[in-house]
């Protein structure tokens, strides 16, 4: 045997990839990259599937540039990467409390509002939030509610209420749906639901109240199948789960999937009367971005009602853009679980960030809950 054999295998393979795959993908790429200069790129750090493909195409035509996205699946992933010093992102789409953190870290660039004439389209109810007074840094993009999704037929059969957190916390209800319930695998979201059910604020940091909430969670835990952040979408849609604590756009997806695949049941979702968490995602400029000009152009583009509506029609997210309402499909626009009315809006809260001591305490409480 020849030692050249040792190198031959990987080297040949490397060569093959280097030669073959660009060729394959090249065909698909040509029309997109075309004459565009390499440096003419807007870098967006975004959630996956959080902008409609046709919107991207139109924006790239308009700006004669390329929109390159990098993805995260959780605010914390994005914050960790940026905290370590990662640079090069022009735009980020953080949720309220993460944006609060970024502002306080001094990681963001102030907006130039003269470049954003479409800002007038935003519903004032979503402007001037406690996280960014006067919207110095941020423009609202989309929002979701944390609520309850359920198998409508099954829950009706069992005669269970769907307008209260009691269904995931009270053993008298849970007994009928044992092992068919999941709750979010998120310290803040689950505590918020428990605190809301107990009549406290979702942002309550009183340790006594936390203890009450964690007792409530521990009492209900044996009835839950799992903590789940993603799989509940599919499991609801195929009928394995009957109740799930989760996000409104995920419930929208589950309901759509159930209908499209011809299930004999429908997936319903509603906001509990005790109140719930509202997560407002905003577009912000990162300090390290190279193309603030393109970034402003993009924000103004997304503030246009038609472009903004495309996202809502795609994933069923809430839309803070009044100009978008006319383009949104009526079954979404009239869904109260996606577009809460004014009365319900008063019972929604946005989560605030916790200080580091509270974070550590909550983490220990959460570990205790899980280990029980």
């Amino acid at each position: 045997m020849n030692p050249r054999r040792l190198l031959a295998l990987p080297l040949v393979s490397l060569l093959l990839i280097a030669l073959l795959i660009p060729f394959v993908t090249g065909c698909a790429r040509q029309d997109q990259d075309g004459a565009r200069v390499a440096g003419n790129t807007l870098h967006l750090f975004n959630w996956n599937n959080y902008i409609a493909p046709q919107t991207i195409v139109r924006f790239e035509e308009l700006c004669n540039c390329k929109l390159a996205q990098d993805y995260y699946s959780d605010n914390e992933e994005m914050l960790a990467k940026l905290a370590a010093g990662a640079t090069g992102h022009d735009l980020i789409v953080p949720t309220g409390n993460a944006m609060d953190t970024l502002i306080r870290q001094g990681a963001l660039k102030p907006l130039d509002k003269s470049l954003l004439p479409n800002l007038k389209n935003i519903n004032p109810a979503y402007l001037d939030t406690e996280f960014d007074r006067g919207n110095k840094y941020s423009v609202p993009y989309a929002y979701t509610l944390t609520l309850l999704g359920f198998n409508a037929e099954r829950i009706k059969e069992l005669g269970l209420p769907t307008d209260t957190w009691a269904i995931i916390f009270e053993p008298e209800y849970l007994e009928k749906i044992k092992g068919r319930v999941t709750v979010l695998d998120s310290q803040r979201e689950l505590m918020a639901a428990a605190l809301k059910y107990l009549g406290y604020s979702a942002n309550d940091t009183d340790e006594g109240h936390w203890k009450q909430a964690s007792d409530l969670i521990i009492r209900a835990k044996p009835y839950w199948a799992a903590f789940s952040n993603t799989s509940y979408i599919k499991e609801l849609a195929i009928g394995n789960l009957w109740v799930a604590h989760g996000y409104s756009n995920d419930m929208f997806q589950a309901a759509l999937d159930a209908t499209k695949t011809g299930r004999r049941f429908t997936i319903g979702y509603s906001t509990p009367k005790e109140g719930a968490v509202l997560a407002l995602d905003s577009l912000v400029l990162h300090r390290s971005g190279h193309r603030p000009d393109l970034a402003h152009q993009f924000i103004n583009f997304m503030l246009d009602g038609k472009n903004s509506a495309e996202l809502t029609n795609l994933i069923g997210s809430g839309n803070p853009n009044t100009g978008a309402m006319q383009y949104i499909r009526p079954e979404i626009a009239n869904n109260k679980a996606i577009f809460p009315d004014a009365e319900l809006h008063n019972r929604l809260e946005m989560l605030h960030d916790l200080d580091r001591k509270k974070r550590r305490l909550l983490s220990r409480l959460w570990t205790e809950i899980k280990l029980r």
């Binding site: 040792l6 698909a28 990098d70």
Partner: protein, 268 residues
């Protein structure tokens, strides 16, 4: 002997089944005409069609393959050296250095390499940083398997070669390397699978505007699994298979006629 073989074969079939049943589901549902991976509805190629129009996903697959091949190449060379050195020279520090990355939680490795790249080396993140990071945690896997191969090996083989006047390089080339080859190949294959699957370290060490497959899939799954992901997994597997077969063909043609059994050399 025969009865033992039947027993071995049936166990082996069961284990191959264990390895391939989940995979069969992945492949099957990539042709399923339903967005939900739940039950068979009908045959379709639409997921593959969607995939071939998804530039981002294809670029991500290409980037991931390049990273996986480069990192497994680097890790195999360095890991084999480390394995040999540990076995031959009874070193004290190297074994700890080689095995600790295997024991270190990957998230810590990811964050620490990110801090190191950005704040100490002042490096721009990109493919190179990912390849370095993957090489770091794969070296240990290769070294461990190479060392296990060498352990208990008949030292007289090496001595005999030396006594016959073979130089150190000749001994390595004609005796040692062929003997450890199965371990080297196994180490390379392990590194490849580790690299192509890694989400955490890749997320932290990747640069901007560069799609990498595990990141695309991981973040996409948060929005529910679509059969498009099954399709890319199927293709990735096929592509890996084809490339390994072509590479094996090419290199066996290149080196045919020169293959000698190590023991014959020693006996000469």
């Amino acid at each position: 002997m025969r009865r033992g073989n039947i027993w071995l074969w049936s166990m082996a079939v069961l284990i191959y089944a264990f390895l391939y049943i989940p995979l069969a589901i992945v492949v099957l549902y990539s042709f399923n005409d339903s967005r939900l991976n739940a039950e068979w509805v009908g045959f379709t190629l639409s997921w593959y069609q969607a995939l071939f129009n998804n530039t981002e996903m294809l670029t991500a697959a290409r980037n991931s393959l390049i990273i996986a091949f480069s990192a497994s190449l680097g890790a195999t060379v360095l890991g084999t050296m480390a394995g040999l050195a540990i076995h031959r020279y009874k070193l004290k520090v190297l074994p700890i250095l080689v095995f600790t990355p295997v024991a270190m939680p990957e998230i810590l490795l990811g964050v620490s390499l990110l801090l190191f790249f950005l704040q100490v080396l002042n490096l721009t993140l990109g493919m190179v940083s990912i390849i370095i990071a993957h090489t770091t945690f794969c070296i240990g896997f290769v070294a461990i398997i190479v060392r296990a191969r060498l352990q208990g090996m008949d030292e007289s083989l090496f001595e005999a070669a030396r006594d016959l006047g073979a130089s150190r390089w000749q001994t390595f080339r004609l005796v040692t390397l062929p003997l450890i080859m199965p371990a080297v190949v196994a180490g390379a294959l392990m590194s490849f699978t580790l690299s192509i699957d890694d989400f955490v370290i890749t997320f932290f060490t990747k640069g901007v505007g560069e799609p990498i497959l595990p990141i695309q899939i991981y973040t996409m799954i948060k929005v529910a699994v679509t059969p498009e992901v099954n399709a890319i997994s199927t293709l990735l597997m096929l592509l890996t298979l084809v490339m390994i077969i072509i590479a094996a063909r090419l290199e066996s043609r290149a080196s045919s006629g020169r293959v000698k059994m190590p023991r014959e050399i020693v006996k000469q």
